[in-house]
């Protein structure tokens, strides 16, 4: 486990893309928060990235097989963390998502993602049969479902939904019979309307205002409308850094966290967002490439889990900014300001590097 791996074997393109995105993020946080009470968010983010980088290095040094072997304890730990959060966590805006550890407020649900990626990888690797049967699906569903429910109870629907792509991607990678796929799709289609009734009123509002944002322009549709105005106001070349009225006059909600891409789009225009999205595309493709070159199935599952999670994050967050996805409040990886999310992404990228460093069987 403690075998030295040469630094030159690290995924340097992945690191460069990651740092490029982090730089865009920090600059945008700096621009968007100037003159507001979040003025110091940009250097905090610099610290998060710096510490994230060292976390990534540590994670890449660890042998992912060793982690997979201890995944049961990690999972128990994750559940315990979520329960602890529910018991002693800080309540902010009516939602208990954070616990205070050594002066940092951590969003525990962000770190649970990593455990779930490992758990799914481990479970699928250990399968005796070639394809998944109903029992396997039920078990895996339960493993992922328990933390999902706990996070949903916080309540934090957005983050709990990010667990789904980990599960779905794993299952599809492992192989699923046609029949199962059809049945699962049917169950989902039927259960969606029923599930709607279990949503909280504000969550229903968000869905309704996603379908029709103009219905209540001052209420829940406000964020979507203002975000779309900000994006459209950017035009082809953007308004220029710190020249954006939507961002700087406060019309854009949380322009440094969930809606950072909206603020970015207003200041840097279509050209800017194409560059940023291309970087995200390359990031995901680089992770996928590591899955392809992984030496074993376990490595493949880990990398694909990370890739699926990143894709989901980008789709939902950026889709929300342009009004093509409902407002769920999940951050944009590497750009949004926030420690827990940044760290968990860096830890995941560390896992990807860990897989890469061990691609040659020795």
């Amino acid at each position: 486990m403690a075998v030295y791996r040469p630094l030159r074997d690290l995924d340097w393109p992945l690191l460069i893309i990651t740092l490029a995105l982090c730089t865009l993020g920090v600059l945008q946080i700096y621009s968007a928060t100037a003159g507001t009470k979040w003025e110091d968010a940009w250097w905090k983010q610099v610290l998060f990235v710096a510490t994230g980088l060292s976390m990534m290095w540590v994670a890449s040094m660890l042998d992912y097989h060793a982690l997979l072997g201890r995944v049961f304890y990690l999972y128990i730990g994750a559940i315990a963390l979520l329960v602890t959060t529910a018991l002693v966590g800080n309540k902010v805006f009516g939602s208990t998502r954070w616990i205070k550890v050594a002066g940092f407020t951590l969003q525990t649900s962000e770190f649970v993602k990593i455990v779930l990626i490992l758990l799914v990888a481990k479970y699928l690797t250990d399968l005796k049969s070639e394809t998944l049967d109903w029992k396997d699906l039920a078990k895996l569903g339960a493993y992922v479902g328990i933390p999902m429910l706990l996070v949903m109870k916080e309540p934090d629907l957005g983050t709990s939904l990010t667990y789904i792509p980990i599960l779905v991607c794993g299952i599809l990678m492992a192989g699923l019979r046609w029949k199962y796929l059809v049945v699962i799709s049917a169950i989902l289609v039927i259960s969606l309307p029923i599930g709607y009734h279990f949503l909280k009123p504000y969550q229903k509002d968000r869905l309704v205002s996603f379908v029709n944002p103009d219905r209540d322009p001052k209420g829940t549709g406000f964020q979507v409308i203002q975000s779309r105005i900000a994006v459209g106001n950017g035009g082809m070349w953007g308004r220029g850094a710190r020249e954006s009225s939507q961002t700087h006059l406060g019309f854009l909600p949380v322009p440094h966290t969930d809606f950072i891409f909206s603020s970015f789009a207003e200041e840097h225009g279509f050209v800017g967002i194409v560059i940023a999205l291309v970087l995200y595309f390359l990031l995901i493709m680089q992770v996928v490439q590591n899955a392809q070159t992984a030496t074993d199935r376990a490595g493949l599952y880990v990398c694909m889990g990370v890739a699926a999670l990143l894709l989901f994050h980008v789709l939902v967050n950026v889709g929300m900014v342009i009004g093509r996805m409902p407002v769920t409040g999940i951050p944009l990886p590497l750009m949004s300001s926030g420690g827990s999310n940044t760290w968990s992404i860096f830890l995941m990228l560390g896992l990807v590097n860990s897989v890469r460093l061990r691609r040659f069987v020795n």
């Binding site: 900000a230 082809m236 019309f251 493709m285 392809q292």
Partner: protein, 640 residues
């Protein structure tokens, strides 16, 4: 998905081999699917940005502009309305109006706002809905000091941020309906007006002239509103001033009215129903115009309350009607000078023509009475005008026939709009064979001519028409277009090339009316030769069938038209006194105005200093100086 399936089968074949399952290459096709999916997601996202940022960025940049720039209208004051000497008739007074910014309106705030400002809640909601395309809606004008204080203490972000005070100009009209009909009033543009092409440049909520000069010269009087633009943040806090567009005030309107004469005419009418019009027959300038009953235009400024409006609109005496240009009443005997000139010019009578009046005469099997039952005896033209003998003119009319009467009456402007610069003038009626055929598809009966000859029957005129008709006759048969705002040249409408001796006979008859013990002797002025003609018109008997409520509604309408001096008249005054019973009741009204005109002229000739004192007289206090100046006589019943 087909890929997954086929791959499945292949792996199943070798499932016994544990090592193969460990081989990640076997999942490569699934990874490819993931890559395609990723490409699809990014295309989906980028296409969304393309649509917002490249295809129609203007929509959103305008929306962002609306977000950040709060523009407040700077209302332009309307032009003042002045009299011929530049004295102010209509002025503006600064006041405060309250507007609501549409973007910030919260429906739950409206009841409280309506309550505090004593507005009707449903009216307020309707108004906000009606002004759908305006970013700001003025909901109340002329705020009181208490209301301003309330707004200022509640317009912060936490309570009612949609409220905003702006400086407005309230139109200030003379008190007590002075010159109300001429001046008109302003009001909010109506839906139907907005739809008409005439108001293409106007917007919902605009204040426009609704009647009178305010309406006719709206384009001149109205200014161009400016805009103050302020950069605001999402809390509505003002961050910095942007470029301000100044308001352009409306142009002042100088009218031909003479405030002194107008004041006298107003006082003279008192609370009688009717109208007074004073013109300069030499050019058509309107010196005074009064219509009674009047209304208070100050109630209309901005937004009139529904109850006030209903009271005015449903008043049976129609106070909103400008009788000077809209009354359509039989002229009665004031029509006789026109008959006289027609008779002389066509040669059916001359200065020697005598008729015998025995108190009435029969024509076509009907008996037509004279207003003097015992009759005038043998009577010629001069006495017939002065004594207003009906039988004489029955005969003249009978000899002329309706179409020759109509020709001369229309020359004098009867049956035609004068074209005065006021909205909604009526044209009245001058019957003729053609008119009857057109209107009723019937032949004209010669018997109908007899009543037309004394200004009864179908003939109807407005006081303005009558003043213009007889004034033009006195001016030598030249009719100028009446107007309230001076153009470059007086417009000569029609000219009758009458023989001077014929004209002389008619005018001397009218001189006799006033100066030789005729029906208008109360109009006598010691220093000026006043000519005139009285008229008594029966209220059409159809009013009986309409069920007139009051007995007085059936009493005769009486007229007097006078001009002076006899040679080269400078002023003609027509007075209509509705249901005034006897013609001499209208005479003193005209006399007062004529006297005021010549007194003022004499005064101005005497001393320039005095004139300056007079021009300082403001309409608001017209009553006292006017009375002092003119020593108005009481309305004693003048002897016949």
């Amino acid at each position: 998905m087909a890929l997954i399936h086929s791959e499945h089968r292949r792996t199943e074949e070798v499932s016994a081999d544990r090592l193969l399952r460990e081989d990640p290459k076997k999942a490569s096709s699934k990874i490819a699917i993931f890559q395609y999916l990723t490409v699809a997601v990014f295309v989906f996202l980028i296409s969304g940005f393309w649509k917002l940022q490249v295809q129609n960025p203007d929509v959103y940049s305008e929306a962002a502009e609306r977000n950040r720039i709060k523009s407040t209208p700077i209302l332009a004051p309307r032009g003042k309305i002045l009299d011929r000497d530049g004295r102010v008739i209509v002025d503006n007074k600064a006041s405060y109006s309250l507007l609501l910014n549409r973007d910030q309106i919260k429906p739950e705030h409206l009841p409280a706002i309506a309550d505090a400002l004593q507005l009707d809640y449903s009216d307020l909601v309707n108004k906000i809905r009606r002004m759908g395309n305006r970013p700001q809606i003025i909901i109340k004008d002329q705020l009181t000091r208490d209301e301003i204080a309330w707004v200022e203490s509640h317009q912060d972000f936490a309570t009612y941020p949609e409220m905003q005070l702006i400086k407005a100009w309230r139109r200030q009209y003379p008190q007590d309906g002075f010159a109300a009909h001429v001046v008109g009033y302003v009001g909010e543009i109506s839906e139907s007006e907005l739809d008409s092409p005439q108001f293409i440049d106007y917007h919902q909520g605009d204040i426009i002239g609704k009647d009178g000069l305010e309406r006719e010269y709206d384009q001149t009087l109205r200014g161009v509103d400016g805009q103050q633009r302020v950069l605001v943040d999402n809390m509505g806090r003002e961050r910095q001033m942007e470029n301000t567009q100044k308001a352009v005030p409306g142009k002042d309107l100088r009218t031909t009215l003479d405030l002194d004469l107008q004041a006298v005419a107003e006082l003279s009418m008192d609370d009688k129903r009717g109208s007074v019009v004073a013109l300069d027959p030499r050019n058509g300038e309107v010196l005074a115009m009064v219509s009674r009953p009047a209304f208070d235009p100050n109630k209309f400024t901005g937004r009139i309350s529904r109850t006030d409006w209903d009271a005015l609109a449903n008043d049976p005496y129609k106070p909103l009607m400008n009788r000077a240009i809209q009354a359509q009443l039989a002229p009665g005997s004031t029509f006789k000078p026109i008959m006289a000139i027609a008779g002389l010019e066509t040669g059916v009578i001359d200065d020697q023509t005598h008729f015998h009046c025995s108190g009435g005469a029969s024509f076509y099997g009907h008996y037509f009475a004279c207003h003097i039952k015992r009759g005038h005896g043998d009577i010629e033209l001069h006495r017939a005008i002065a004594q207003s003998c009906d039988v004489f003119f029955y005969n003249v009319g009978n000899r002329l026939g309706i179409d020759r009467i109509a020709k001369y009456a229309e020359l004098a402007g009867i049956g035609h709009k004068t074209g005065i610069d006021l909205p909604n003038e009526t044209q009245g009626t001058m019957p003729s064979t053609r008119w009857k055929m057109r209107m009723f598809r019937q032949k004209w009966y010669a018997g109908e001519t007899i009543s037309v000859a004394i200004g009864q029957g179908a003939v109807t005129v407005s006081p303005l028409q009558l003043a213009s008709a007889l004034g033009g006759l006195g001016d030598g048969g030249k009719w100028y277009k009446p107007h309230l705002v001076k153009g470059d040249h007086p417009v000569l409408l029609r000219q009758g090339n009458f023989r001077p001796e014929n004209l002389q006979q008619v005018i001397s008859g009218m001189y006799g009316v006033v100066n030789e013990g005729g029906t208008g002797r109360a109009a006598y002025l010691p220093d000026v030769k006043v000519c005139g003609k009285t008229g008594t018109a029966q209220v059409a008997s159809t009013n009986l069938t309409k069920g007139a409520k009051l007995h007085s509604d059936l009493a005769n309408n009486v007229w007097f038209v006078g001009f002076a001096p006899m040679e080269n008249p400078e002023i003609v005054v027509a007075a209509l006194f509705e249901h005034g019973v006897e013609s001499y009741n209208a005479v003193p009204i005209v006399r007062d105005v004529l006297k005021a005109y010549f007194d003022k002229k004499a005064r101005e000739g005497k001393s320039l200093l005095e004139r300056q004192t007079a021009s300082e007289t403001r309409f608001g206090h017209f009553a006292d100086p006017a009375r002092a100046m003119l020593q108005l006589p009481l309305q004693e019943g003048a002897p016949r």
